[in-house]
């Protein structure tokens, strides 16, 4: 069944059609959320919220855009809201990491049994996520949609409601900013 047919049925409260929609697009939503949240558990929770929101507001969906464009928009908004709402919690957990209260973090860095590559990869992840998180919101959004979902400029412009040239510019600046952060980090730490 096409997405259009599925949406028609979902508007008539067809649960099977909704289930099929979720199964078809679970990966798309999860990857997008993961790009923002860097954590599989959080991405899983927020992805569920995305589909719940989609179910609630399906009657408002007019079909002007593709269903995937609509889902991407909800996923981005839900992810950004989650980050904003949990910023306080994250600051406290950062303090726990710095003061050594976060046992998981301690075990990562002090556990002599972990292979070096595992420790190095975790550090690289930390550096990458920190660099992505420091990007301005628009640049971050464009970068995640491009890199995590392999969307082209046109697709991203439809999701973000911006011109293709704006998206080109956002992506260029995002990559430049990332480049500077990563280069400076490794220049000082190697």
């Amino acid at each position: 069944m096409t997405d259009k047919d599925l949406v028609k049925k979902i508007k008539n409260n067809d649960r099977h059609a909704f289930k099929e929609l979720v199964e078809n697009h679970q990966k798309l939503v999860m990857n997008t959320c993961k790009g923002f949240l860097h954590n599989e558990d959080d991405a899983h929770d927020v992805s569920q919220e995305v589909f719940i929101e989609a179910y609630r507001s399906v009657k408002k969906f007019r079909g002007d855009s593709k269903i995937t464009t609509w889902l991407y928009r909800i996923a981005v908004n839900k992810s950004l809201n989650f980050i904003r709402d949990n910023r306080k919690h994250r600051r406290l957990s950062d303090i726990d990491i710095m003061t050594g209260k976060n046992e998981k973090h301690i075990s990562t860095h002090l556990n002599p049994n972990l292979p070096d590559t595992e420790i190095e990869n975790r550090e690289r992840s930390r550096v990458l996520y920190s660099a992505i998180d420091e990007l301005p919101t628009n640049q971050r959004e464009a970068f995640i949609l491009n890199k995590y979902e392999n969307l082209n400029y046109k697709e991203i412009s439809e999701i973000m409601n911006k011109s293709i040239s704006s998206i080109e510019s956002l992506l260029f600046r995002a990559k430049k900013n990332l480049q500077v952060k990563l280069y400076n980090y490794y220049k000082e730490n190697l």
Partner: protein, 140 residues
Amino acid sequence: MDCKEVENRIIEYIEKTLPEIIEMDMKAHFENCENCSRIYNEIVKTYDIIESDKMVGTYPYFADNVITKIENVNKSKINGVLNPENFSFVFSRIAITGIAAVIIFIVGLYILEGSLPFDFFSEPDYLAPENVTNLLLSNL
């Protein structure tokens, strides 16, 4: 090509979006500059984390869990609207807010006017001593 130019193009080099001639210059620089080569290798490994982050499979029962959550939310909404305990809780909140508003209004008037709108503390005129005396005398 110097190190600064290489620094400015590393991600384009990783993504293979540079013109061929510049790509060749960069490659030659990495072969001759140990520092840039080391930094480049680290950045490549870091950038590659994006690929390894992407989901490969899907969660089984994900769709079922979403549907269950929707059904639970619908049930609790119905219960919330029809639950009399919720209604009395809301009513008491409104009542307390109203009373608090009245008290604040009275205190505000006292502060502005320097007196209460109705004087609790002075006795009514008919209880003034001279009036009581007159009343008693008139009834004798």
